[in-house]
Symmetry: C3
């Protein structure tokens, strides 16, 4: 299994020295950089006792921790259990799905704390972190988990770590351009997380195109229980998405509103997904692939606008449309992308993140452009779009234009960045598996030899048993 030789290809998937080296070098670098740069922000520092008195705060409750920590924990579950288990649908890649997602996310959040810290929390030579930084690091890593969905089963853990390094960097640059230079609103990350993450991943998988992937066709499907494991991921993503979209919104009504809009959008999305899943199948049966994925499109598609006055019925409309687009995507676009454009998208992130992310960006631009002082109130209007300082004179329609520009920038960053990173990942030094060993945990994992796999081998007599 380690060094299979078929059809003239020799792939060395032996990880013993390469993976530890990358992990340990990286971790040492993190410790050094954290030592130089990262300190507790004022609300997590023991000096807060005194600062609190200076600020005349009467209650510890005013600490940002209590505004955001419950949402942070929900987001944390989405990244590790949500994305991790969503990808366990493959019959023989559950360890890789959960385990590599765990690795790259733990790897990514440290680097994201630094990258985002330099851009947004840098004061007097130090990055000052608090709970909002933890959420943003999780968000940043979310975009890597999305990209992982496209290349799931086809890459080595080292490739994933290398991709994470670059993608987190590019994410942070793109985020800085959008939030600070274009002054765009994107609390739930339709553009920064989903559009960028998905098109980045799709570009990478395009570069890594494997012409002989049908050799592992038998392992690309699910089994009954792997589909149930995947539903754990789906449901946690679905349930906690209101927390995701509201986690870093302004305190008070904005967080409240984001949660309501997302709740409504997701509910509507389930119905249209079920409808189209049944409608597009000759036998009229429901397809677990759609239920596991397209039901989540509603959360993606209100990512930008959830904290705006989208209104509950606006959310229902957006959710309904995105469920339809996403399900149609699974039935028609995914096969097309593979056969015509050579984009092999294992989890269908084009349907779950790319298209709904674009919808989300556009809906955000429209909602921003349509904002009025009447709808938001005089104070609320300024607060909702941060029309203060140099942006005091910006009008809603100009804001809408900048929002739209944010989509374009995210797409460009994703295509260019994905192409470069894809090129790097194509180097023959990272230990990826041969086409016939894709989607197979035994390449990188000790897999238990048990009854179940006896049966498995029994039905696959030509499959080599591991030594």
């Amino acid at each position: 299994m380690d060094r299979p030789r078929h059809q003239g290809m020799v792939k060395n998937t032996y990880m013993r020295w390469r993976l530890p080296l990358v992990c340990l070098l990286w971790e040492v670098a993190m410790i050094v950089l954290f030592g130089v740069f990262v300190r507790f922000g004022p609300e997590a520092d023991a000096h807060w006792e005194e600062e609190k008195q200076e600020l005349n705060l009467t209650s510890d409750m005013e600490n940002d921790f209590y505004f955001r920590y419950p949402s942070f924990q929900d987001v944390h579950v989405m990244i590790f259990v949500g994305f991790g288990f969503l990808m366990t649908f493959l019959k023989r890649y559950g360890f890789g799905a959960v385990g590599f997602n765990f690795l790259l996310a733990a790897f990514g959040i440290q680097w994201a704390l630094l990258m985002q810290g330099w851009f947004h929390s840098f004061k007097n030579g130090k990055i000052l972190i608090g709970v909002e930084n933890l959420i943003n690091a999780d968000f940043c890593v979310g975009s890597v988990c999305i990209a992982f969905g496209a290349i799931l089963g086809k890459t080595s853990p080292i490739q994933l770590l290398v991709m994470t390094l670059f993608q987190v960097t590019l994410f942070s640059v793109n985020e800085y351009i959008l939030l600070n230079l274009l002054h765009v609103k994107d609390a739930g990350g339709s553009m920064t997380i989903h559009t960028f993450g998905a098109y980045f991943g799709l570009t990478v998988t395009r570069i890594l195109y494997r012409p002989n992937l049908e050799q592992s066709k038998d392992k690309q499907g699910s089994v009954y229980h792997s589909d149930l494991f995947a539903m754990i991921g789906t449901l946690y993503l679905w349930m906690y998405w209101p927390s995701f979209n509201s986690a870093i919104s302004e305190h008070g009504d904005a967080q409240h509103r984001s949660a309501i809009n997302t709740y409504c959008s997701l509910a509507a999305c389930v119905l249209t997904t079920m409808a189209f899943s049944s409608m597009l199948q000759k036998k009229g049966k429901l397809d677990m692939v759609h239920i596991q994925n397209a039901t989540l499109a509603g959360g993606v598609a209100v990512g930008t606008s959830a904290e705006m006055m989208l209104t509950p019925y606006g959310s229902l409309i957006v959710g309904s449309i995105s469920g339809i687009v996403s399900t149609v995507g699974y039935v028609y676009f995914t096969p097309f992308l593979e056969s015509r454009l050579h984009i092999q998208d294992t989890c269908g992130i084009h349907n779950l993140h790319a298209m709904p992310g674009l919808i989300g960006g556009i809906v955000g631009a429209i909602t921003a452009a349509a904002a009025t002082e009447d709808v938001y109130g005089k104070e609320g209007f300024i607060k909702a779009f941060d029309f203060t300082g140099v942006y005091q004179t910006r009008t809603p329609s100009v804001q809408g234009g900048f929002q739209a520009a944010g989509i374009v920038v995210s797409l460009l960053m994703a295509f260019v960045g994905g192409a470069i990173v894809g090129g790097i990942l194509k180097l023959p030094i990272w230990g990826d598996a041969a086409a016939e060993n894709c989607f197979e945990d035994e390449v990188y994992w000790e897999v238990p030899e048990d009854e179940e796999s006896d049966v498995y081998h029994m039905h696959n007599p030509d499959k080599p048993t591991s030594p």
Copy 2:
């Protein structure tokens, strides 16, 4: 599989046009009704910035969002993961359990926001929603999930959607009668959610009685891993039940007290369930059916009284009793209900929700009747039972009487409503499966053809393989 012909019965389970039609029509109706009626409540509206100043609120923390959102997310998990996975215990109905629960709950919360909104949050022609409405919508749908437990595996998705439509409506009417007309306290829903939901479901399944259900007897059991999946549901229901019972209690001590009472009741319930599960088996072994279900009865049985001064030891007593009643129910009542009363109760909701719900209603009535100013404090007494306005002169014993009346009303609504809805669901147009195809995902779902099911077929040579 789609159009089986056995014993003269022809059942058309083909969903291709019917299911999409129902889903899409419904969603369009929701969008229209939300567009006409639903708006953000004051705490989720951008005008809150100004309102906050008028109300002299010094902190965004006073937004109801921060009092209730963590509990809301726990309740949300209970509805979708809790109920969904609890029902995955069947060996070949995991997709249906999780998937149809997902569908009907997403369907139901939208309609519940409207129905409950018209009754409770209607101002100047608009329904104004906030986080408490989201919790209440989840609660309402919880009663549908309960009823689903009785008919699990025997109905088509369309029947479930039709049942949801009617049950949410009836739930809202019943809730209005109890909370507004009888001025009854029922924060955790022993009466409104559990008693109503369970007897409604039991009535429906009685009407839909299937005399030949033993034809699918082999599929009514569990397999090893399906029992573990079900334990995920059980544990999330058990752990988050303190949030369920406290989610809409008054801010402060009432929420705090509800959580403690529920925690205690559930802990006690586990011990008596284990005791009776072992005691009632000839071989003295524990039965997963009891552990999965009866351990939760303690949460149901303090639903009404948790926010009252039930006291921790009172909670232990209630929890202990309900665990015993529920386990005894599984061993003796469920077979009796099926053989004598023709009530086929797939998940045993009579034991988990109906009887403990009645206990909960009764305990609530007693606890209310026994309330004194001494125990609650002068202010606390008035606040706990809302003895203000026209209810200023109501005494605890009168309140106890009204609480008892609430049980009776809930039962009546459940029986009458369940009979009518059962009659509607009996119409031969909804696409339910024949008796021998009950508890089988292949009727409505694309099921992966894999090794595991090869084995399955190997051991079931007469089972038709899907084409």
Copy 3:
């Protein structure tokens, strides 16, 4: 299966009267003791309405419920789903892992509320409980869940209940000595929970040494899906550990800081675990045992110091080291402990809790000893270490000494207590199984006879089928 006779050993595993008797007697005792002693604390009592006015509190938000309830729920999930599912990795002991953990934890939290209440919340003859007591009860039970890991699969449920009774008692005494007599800080319980719990469990399993355990060797492994179930436990422990370590820290910056330190430590721990898992395997493949367990060592190892000014890079260092130590432990120490010291540690708690717990205690002592007013601020310094009252004159270095003493006391309590309890558990009256029936659910559970187990039997023709 109930009364197997092999090799001259007769083991009576029949639970029908013993288990119910223990459970019911215990629960009655709990009800009586709760009735005599336990009442609602002031913040959960209905009199709080009046007390609030006396205290001039302007908001219900000041109720401790809102500071701690979200963290409590996370801790609750860790105890029941985290520990429960972490132990489902065994192929035929999933029911026992989740079910017995459920039983002993529900059993333990009631007794812990009393024991810890007498020591810490006793006023005027009553134990006054609030949300912090619930968290502490969960913490206490956490130490029992840890010890359960060492004896998993080898003990009867009655033995577990007896162990819980004694261990909770000893835990409370040890905790009282540390927190009240030595005035030690240990918010995340590196010493009180992990060091004590693990060495207690290891001593118990040493006393219960089974020389013929290789007779059930075939059942000590995992199967593919049981490893995925275990990952549910792992991830919930990992994700919610920041809540665990911050749950009972002081309001404000201390809770905030604990969460950040734990987040950082855990992230680093994943990388070094993956590195060493691959490095220590000849084939360089990753081992699920390490990923499931050693990735959590970082949370254990900052348990004492998380609320101190450990700083993010300090956390990275501690997390990195503990991941390495833990993984190395699984590869080298566990086999050594079994073959040389006759310590059969099913889950490897020595690697996950004992060694990282010691590291945590030591890091805590060093961090405390290194504290300065400069780093903490004048107010923060006093608050962080409670240097008030009789402790007003304690210096950091003295505090460090007392912290170190806390480790020694915890170890002594664990060894002595574990030896005594192990001796009690060795009595031949508790119904444990013979060596060849260890790690097998069929001894104590009704296990479904299904296709999957047909296959299982098919491949194990000499395995007796249950009657």
